[in-house]
Symmetry: C2
Subunit: 289 residues, 2 copies
């Protein structure tokens, strides 16, 4: 297999062993093509519990053999990531993506689609709405990601796969209780000051300035705010990996900052992007008409 | 207690309830002054296992009552953070710090010292060296942190508490097998391209460019590289919280990029900052002469 698929690093060919440190996997100690060579869909999310629930859900949905209790965390040698919890924020997901993309390369995978399934704050949408990301934008509403490489800043495009997004939107109409829209997703590097929350330990702006910022975001087509989408879109694009971001909104930021909805309701909300992505995978596998 | 201690947010006084969402704690459901009011030292780290080991270690060192098995994760309602695992990267630790600083405020704590105990890549130091951070610097070796607030970028100073750093350095000489230096710590937003690693999924620079960057860092006084120190220093400084960063180096970046040292050796390295901080706390509590 040529490096043209997925990784973009000439140095990798010179290495005898590649240790995927944050996954506790290595090309010497694990047979990665045997373990992962048939992977066609990768789903990543920020929280370990949520991803365990999703692993069990998709196992049932695809009627896979074996017992639910046998679903193992393949990264059990580390507590940095579960397979595939990415933690919160751009730096955390970017470490995971570097190692995941190398894993797909070492395992000789092809035609993979990767989904980020997450939670977010809504911008003018009722809580519980699923947002399929059209463009991932930064705090200034630009569809780009600034990557620091050594001491230089380079700009990367954050466009996602348009066909996958449209297909997801179409399938959403076939599902009950999964209100879904498509729009821009703003990615910030901070949950409080960066997202205009008034309830952080630090806050230097007024309520009016908060709402003015949210209104500007809304006018720029922003439907939700989270903390990983720009680097996810940028890295997948550079590496020719088809990618989609599907996040549910946990609150409407025009109505508040705190997430005070009961836990059981939040849990149901979090299942909505999972249902949609599972439906997509079943369609692609020909398990549904 | 006046807001002059710790939080810097006039909006907090107008809230009936404050939900510390990522900790699963709230001012209405938990008696925070009773639970945390006597806290004088806070230790945070990136990995849950490491912090559990530290909690057990400090429990023994301080000869606290109760059984080791009873040490509970106070945030057990969430898997985002353990008490106090901060995850990896600036956005992840900044969420934790907002909620931690609010927790100290709600609990009416005073005279608190906060330590980040972590791991890092060394710049010209043998693996296993403990680095006490003098200044936290960014990828361009500047002692500052750029915080995006709404759509504006503000610059915050990243100086840490000089007295605590000097005291730590002095105590390090009293400990066996804890080689320790003081110097600048570079904080990047990426583990691979941002730290000049040649082994990521993406790499656009040459081996020579990597070493030139590391040499420039070394000339700027950088002793180690990690991913949280600038925002940690900046937020603690704005909030009048005395702070120190104590990280062990897992490798010498002039010798390689991959972390290939055996797990048992890495585990021993990770205990070194823990020993130093525990020693500091025992000294401050008058448990040692």
């Amino acid at each position: 297999m040529s490096q043209e698929e997925y990784v973009k690093n000439p140095h990798l060919d010179t290495m005898n062993e590649d240790i995927l440190y944050h996954f506790s996997l290595s090309t010497k100690t694990h047979d990665l093509p045997q373990m992962f060579g048939d992977v066609k869909f990768v789903c990543v999310g920020g929280s370990a519990n949520r991803m365990r629930i999703f692993a069990e859900f998709i196992h049932e949905q695809l009627e896979l053999p074996g017992d639910l209790a046998d679903i193992k965390d393949i990264c059990e040698g580390t507590d940095r990531y579960s397979m595939y919890k990415h933690g919160m924020g751009v730096p955390s997901i970017s470490i995971m993506l570097h190692e995941l993309i190398k894993l797909l390369y070492h395992a000789r995978c092809r035609d993979v689609i990767i989904f980020r399934i997450g939670t977010s704050g809504g911008v003018g949408l009722p809580a519980g709405t699923v947002v399929i990301t059209d463009k991932a934008v930064d705090s200034f509403f630009r569809p780009q990601f600034e990557q620091v490489v050594l001491d230089k800043v380079i700009i990367r495009n954050t466009e996602l796969d348009k066909d996958v997004a449209q297909e997801l939107l179409q399938y959403s109409t076939e599902l009950p209780e999964t209100p879904t829209v498509i729009g821009n997703t703003m990615c910030t590097h901070d949950f409080y000051e960066g997202q205009g929350r008034l309830d952080g330990a630090l806050c230097t702006f007024s309520t009016e300035e908060k709402f003015e910022y949210l209104r500007k975001a809304s006018e720029a087509g922003v439907k939700n705010i989270e903390m990983e989408s720009t680097v996810f879109a940028a890295m997948c694009r550079v590496c020719n990996l088809k990618a989609a971001v599907v996040c549910v909104t946990l609150l409407n930021r025009f109505e508040g900052d705190q997430i005070s909805t009961p836990h059981c309701v939040l849990t149901e909300y979090q299942q909505r992007p999972q249902r949609l992505v599972a439906h997509f995978i079943k369609k692609r596998l020909g398990l549904l008409q």
